[in-house]
């Protein structure tokens, strides 16, 4: 057995057993053909792509599964939700702090790099509406810049807080994980509806204002207010999920659950991170319901062997 053949066969371990049995030999043959014809570097990239696709099949992240379809639906609305969250943080996080310098010149300064992150996300949304097929790259750029920027900002004790950034970054994950599809839909209207709903909900839960002063800003108590009001939002989100699921709009239900993830998780994780805050029982119940819903989607998306398809002869393919 050649080294190349052995390596190709090892790559099949990334795939679930059923897939391996169905397609394994075929993939190895293609890899070997490619390795013979291509330069070593190209052959390595073939192997990496086969391994990555194996991980996708194993996790149910392909375009045929419910998880994959839900991620596809959630991808661009997730980025838009991030941009609207950014706009909200500009208004309720940054403006009060800027205003405080006018009213209380001796108080502060509260240095921040937040506007730079939010601008990246807003620009990201403009670009993704124009070129939706590049949503994965756009999300990758937004997420990387935000994470690296936040790490650098924290070294110099600058705003924003890690919680806001964690929510923002997680909203790019659906775009990063969503499978490739024939046509990447822009989903402008649903995305804007999701963004506006997020914006309105944040106003509702965090009692935002543009009153001057750091203690009026979202950076001071916004995440706490999100966690405190989260049960109302959770009830709505889970009821929406259940309604969509029952009415058989299951991919949209899955997308709803995916987009709800950071908010539901923060509702529990934020109070848990602080000794003086108690975790709301309703938030814990919502988290359990969310986990059950996600488990349902992931389980439904597991790879299952397909029955052999009957080949209908196409008029174009009569001569091979």
């Amino acid at each position: 057995m050649t080294e190349n053949l052995a390596r190709s066969q090892q790559l099949l371990r990334f795939y679930p057993k059923a897939y391996r049995e169905e397609r394994g030999e075929e993939i190895v043959a293609t890899l070997q053909d490619a390795a013979e014809a291509r330069v070593p570097r190209a052959s390595l990239s073939d192997q990496i792509s086969v391994a990555l696709y194996g991980v996708r099949v194993r996790l149910g992240l392909t375009s045929e599964t419910m998880f994959g379809k839900a991620l596809d639906i959630a991808a661009i609305p997730g980025l838009v939700m991030g941009a609207f969250f950014g706009v909200y943080l500009l208004i309720s996080g940054e403006l009060p702090v800027v205003n405080s310098r006018f009213f209380y010149p001796d108080f502060g300064p509260f240095l921040t790099v937040g506007p730079l992150f939010y601008l990246v996300w807003i620009l990201g949304v403009v670009v993704v509406f124009e070129w939706p097929q590049y949503r994965r790259r756009i999300a990758g750029v937004c997420m990387t810049l935000t994470i690296v920027g936040e790490l650098l900002a924290k070294l110099a004790h600058r705003n924003p807080n890690i919680w806001e950034i964690a929510i923002l970054v997680s909203l790019g994950l659906p775009s990063l994980l969503a499978p490739d599809v024939y046509v990447t839909r822009r989903r402008v209207l649903p995305s804007l509806c999701v963004g506006l709903a997020t914006f309105a909900t944040l106003f509702f839960v965090s009692g935002s204002s543009v009153n001057p002063g750091f203690f009026n800003s979202f950076y001071w108590s916004g995440t706490y207010e999100i966690a405190r009001h989260q049960p109302y939002v959770d009830v709505f989100l889970l009821a929406l999920f259940a309604g969509l699921w029952i009415t058989k709009r299951r991919e949209v239900a899955g997308a709803t659950l995916i987009l709800a993830s950071p908010w539901i998780i923060v509702g529990v994780a934020y109070p848990m991170s602080l000794k003086y805050l108690k975790v709301d029982t309703l938030n814990v119940i919502a988290l359990i319901a969310w986990a059950a819903g996600m488990a349902l989607i992931v389980t439904t998306s597991r790879y299952r062997p397909r029955p052999p398809a009957s080949v209908e002869q196409s008029p174009l393919s009569s001569g091979s």
Partner: protein, 109 residues
């Protein structure tokens, strides 16, 4: 809103329009049609084949063992043929409009 088929998918279907092909032959066909511009990786190819098979655009068309390697062949289904035909017509139509406009402004012979 424009709904266009992405280029690699179009090229895979165009390769299969010539007849049934196995995995690596499809990769070669795409490279040839795109004059080397698009090189599909093996993992990407199987993601596309799975998706197109699931959607009933292509189907498995038999297999054989050549030099100890299993070759599974794929071909267009009737739906796939229709889809490719429609997409090709759309592309020709857009290209013709573009060429007519370029000629009108004297930018293209």
């Amino acid at each position: 809103m424009i709904k266009e088929m992405r280029e690699p998918t179009f090229l895979v279907l165009a390769t299969l329009a010539e007849g049934k092909r196995h995995g690596y032959a499809i990769i070669q066909g795409v490279a040839s049609l795109s004059e080397g511009e698009i090189e599909i990786k093996a993992g990407t190819l199987y993601a596309m084949l799975d998706r197109l098979t699931f959607d009933g655009v292509i189907a498995s068309a038999g297999e054989e063992v050549v030099d100890g390697r299993l070759r599974r062949y794929y071909e267009l289904t009737s739906d796939g043929t229709t889809l490719l035909g429609e997409e090709s017509k759309r592309r020709v139509k857009v290209s013709n409009i573009a060429l007519r406009r370029l000629r009108f402004v004297g930018g293209f012979a």
